[in-house]
Symmetry: C2
Subunit: 499 residues, 2 copies
């Protein structure tokens, strides 16, 4: 007889087939639960995470080497995110309910009674990330959005923090059950084989992923190659260019450079929104400022051995590329346990080198590494982004005090190539709010959706219309009596005759 | 020197590379045009189609063999659709604008000013269908939705109606230019090679298709296999089961059977919403009713030789399957020009045969062919749909007069397997309204989107967020001054501290 590995109450991980079968059984039950029940369940998870914060932060710190303050902030963000989605569920606006009453005078002839709502797609498979052990892992944004949508969730744990993942999964299973959600609403599985098996499983109706472009592409291709293709929402890599206009450089070039090094170094640069490329005018003279700022950053252990191997290799490739000069050499030492300890490495190059070495220098190096790029006077910065940074999570402009309306064209161009366009800021903070967009054109993401903010719920819904159905057999949000109290948009009747 | 084939003013078809380059150049201009300009352009297209209705209907009748009344109705529907999307554009609600003002008291720390809008994805490639030469072809629903979204459109013409396609394209180019839209907003290309080349072209940012499951899957796979995958919205095949409850059968079985034959025979069954399977209780005795109703339907020429070949082959396969009995033999004669003339063929089988011969009997036969399926007493009809009809555009229930609330479970199940669930109706009419959903789980469609109704615009938009951008450099719908007058949803400031 075997015993669970870490505690007598451990239920995670599950077997993939068991998890899929249970999720499929839970899906219709969960879809019909009232918004308040689902919202309360999200809050119960948030509360449970909060009640165990010291234990969870301790587990996370031990497994990820991230600083305690960062982890406490991340756990708080994760809890807030769950509570924010609880509010989204309660509001009901995300269902986009549309009621077209029967219209005998419709311009194309009598129109039936039509009622459309968005409805959960069914079980969702979430691939957890390593760099946010809470916010993009087991209880993270994808999980919160899918549960809020009314979908059962199966998380494929990231191997970088297994003990934390299991403990959180246990707490979630307990909290969800306590809130009255059906068994099968949530499960954790481990291992690449389990992930692959579930991505191919008929019960799984959508998948979400946060991680590398290479792995994301493999999984996206597998989702598309199923006998029944399913939507795959991958948040992959991003270079996050920051454009410093000549005016901004003249006004506060050194200040921007220092802040850039700080943004690159936070969490040892292990963020998908790290501003990996800073574009400044030729002849900037910022080398000493960058070197000094980098020298002030303490050494930081990278998340795990796999991240370390990737960092050492990617950094070496760029450093070995002709046309790349070192501003701050930094360090990247591999310890006996395989973990890499690093200080920031900053390099400088020019647009010609980027064009000549796209495959090496224009690749994301995940860790405390970034590239300062010089541009000649009169460069069209929008054209540079369109050419070299066509698909980004973020793009940023630092402007001069007098620059306003004349930036409209540049910001419009950036909006075509990035999900979020910032002015005079740094992209590493990603607010969890209604107006956030965390997702841009390929290769930033595999879809046009966002994985952060309340709009992320839309990924796990599909439209369903009922035509001439009796009131008492309709799903709750489509009934005239509106028992869930959701916003119902009603079309005008008779007016189409006057179009 | 060559001259255009059909008239001196013909500009269509275009070369794929020219069309792609022009569309890419038009995209940013089109995105920034005011809603009223874009709406007026859609109305100008509708007006031009109307001004040439006799000519266009004549061309369509000659090339598709569809009846004039049907074609006039379809042209009207196409014009109404363009005008409906003009209203959608003017309302601005489809942009889902969200404004989160800067919030110093946000629960996770000071929050920047964030403004999110949906924005056109860029050039859209539309593959036209054969069976709706107006409504799902050159000026059809996909084109209208993409233009409304602000995307340039390149239509790959269906070879079934080339002269009509070229004429409509010329009228559209003229009308759009006259309304002030940029050159490159619209183009027509011809041939499978052109379609494939454009589906792989970097300038094309999304594609839409209406047609067979086989071709749709090939194109979906090609879109997913690009170096930069793009969204592909394919509306493929559907079996559209109709469930007749025992009560409904007892009350009006013969009436339902007659209406079914009528719905199957309209437009010679060449509709994606043809109710291909009618499920009735065993011992129904409807054979004579079905045979009589079928005998009253006049012969109809199918759309073109390719459709005819598929019809003859598919019909033969089902007729040759053990366990399938003939209710109305119908005819399917291939004329010298390759066109098939047909009268309806109706067959009967049972659930066991469907299960045993899924690959043959459970395939869509495009044309005036349908299957009556008997079910034993006490059959769980929802379970039958889940098993045998898992992904449909529509599913229909005919109920008894006393059946209401007890159908809730069945309708919920149908909603998981079909985009539209009907009660006591026939699926072949697809209203163009806000609440329509024309798209269901695979294989009905390759995505969870709708291709009919105003929600179809969402397929060609992606989220973009601006952070701390100056007012005068923001896209119009995100400005506080709101020059486009769109709905702007503002988040509360300060309230998050009390969550």
């Amino acid at each position: 007889m075997t015993t669970p590995t870490d505690s007598p109450t451990t239920t995670a991980p599950a077997q993939p087939e068991d998890a899929a079968r249970a999720a499929a059984a839970a899906a219709p039950v969960l879809a019909d639960l009232s918004p308040s029940t689902r919202a309360d369940a999200l809050r119960a998870v948030a509360d449970s995470l909060g009640a165990h914060d010291d234990e969870l932060v301790g587990l996370a710190a031990g497994e990820t080497r991230l600083a305690e303050a960062r982890l406490r902030g991340e756990l708080k963000r994760t809890r807030v995110q769950l509570r924010l989605f609880a509010r989204v569920v309660e509001s009901g606006a995300y269902l986009d309910v549309r009621l077209d009453a029967a219209d005998p005078d419709f311009v194309l002839g009598p129109r039936p009674d039509l009622r459309r709502t968005l409805w959960p797609v069914g079980p969702v498979l979430v691939f957890a990330a390593s760099n946010f052990p809470f916010a993009f892992s087991v209880p993270g944004g994808d999980t919160a959005a899918a549960l809020a949508a009314g979908c059962p969730v199966i998380v494929k744990a990231h191997p970088g923090h297994p003990a934390l993942s299991r403990r959180v999964a246990d707490l979630m299973v307990e909290a969800l059950a306590g809130a009255g959600l059906p068994a099968g609403t949530f499960a954790l599985v481990e291992g690449d084989d389990a992930g692959r098996a579930l991505l191919a499983h008929p019960a799984v109706r959508a998948a979400a992923f946060t991680g590398s472009t290479r792995v994301g592409r493999l999984l996206a291709d597998a989702a598309a190659a199923r006998p029944d293709p399913i939507p795959f929402f991958g948040e992959l890599g991003s270079l996050n260019p920051v454009l410093v206009t000549p005016d901004a450089f003249a006004e506060r070039g050194a200040e921007i450079a220092r802040a850039w090094v700080g943004s690159v170094s936070g969490s040892a640069g292990q963020l998908c929104t790290k501003p990996g490329f800073l574009l400044v005018p030729e002849g900037h003279g910022l080398g000493p400022v960058v070197a000094d700022a980098a020298a002030a950053v303490p050494e930081h252990a990278l998340l795990n051995a796999r991240v370390g191997v990737g960092y050492v290799a990617g950094r070496s490739v760029v450093l070995g590329t002709p046309g790349v000069a070192v501003l701050a050499a930094g360090s990247a030492e591999t310890e006996d346990d395989g973990v890499v300890h690093a200080t920031p490495t900053l390099v400088e190059t020019d647009l010609a080198t980027l064009r000549a070495h796209r495959d090496t220098v224009l690749e994301e190096v995940f860790g405390p590494f970034a590239v300062l790029v010089t541009y000649p006077e009169d460069t069209d910065l929008g054209a540079v982004v369109a050419e070299l940074f066509p698909g980004e999570l973020t793009a940023t402009v630092h402007r001069g005090a007098g620059e306003g309306a004349q930036l409209a064209g540049l910001l419009a161009t950036l909006g075509r190539h990035a999900g979020r366009v910032l002015v005079d800021g740094w992209p590493t903070g990603v607010a969890v709010t209604p107006a956030m967009q965390h997702g841009g054109p390929w290769p930033a993401t595999t879809s046009d959706a966002t994985s952060v903010g309340t709009a992320a719920i839309g990924r796990f819904l599909r439209g369903t219309t009922y035509q001439d159905a009796p009131q008492d057999a309709l799903p709750a949000p489509l009934q005239d009596g509106n028992p869930w109290g959701v916003p119902q948009a009603r079309s005008g009747v008779g007016e189409s005759a006057h179009w």
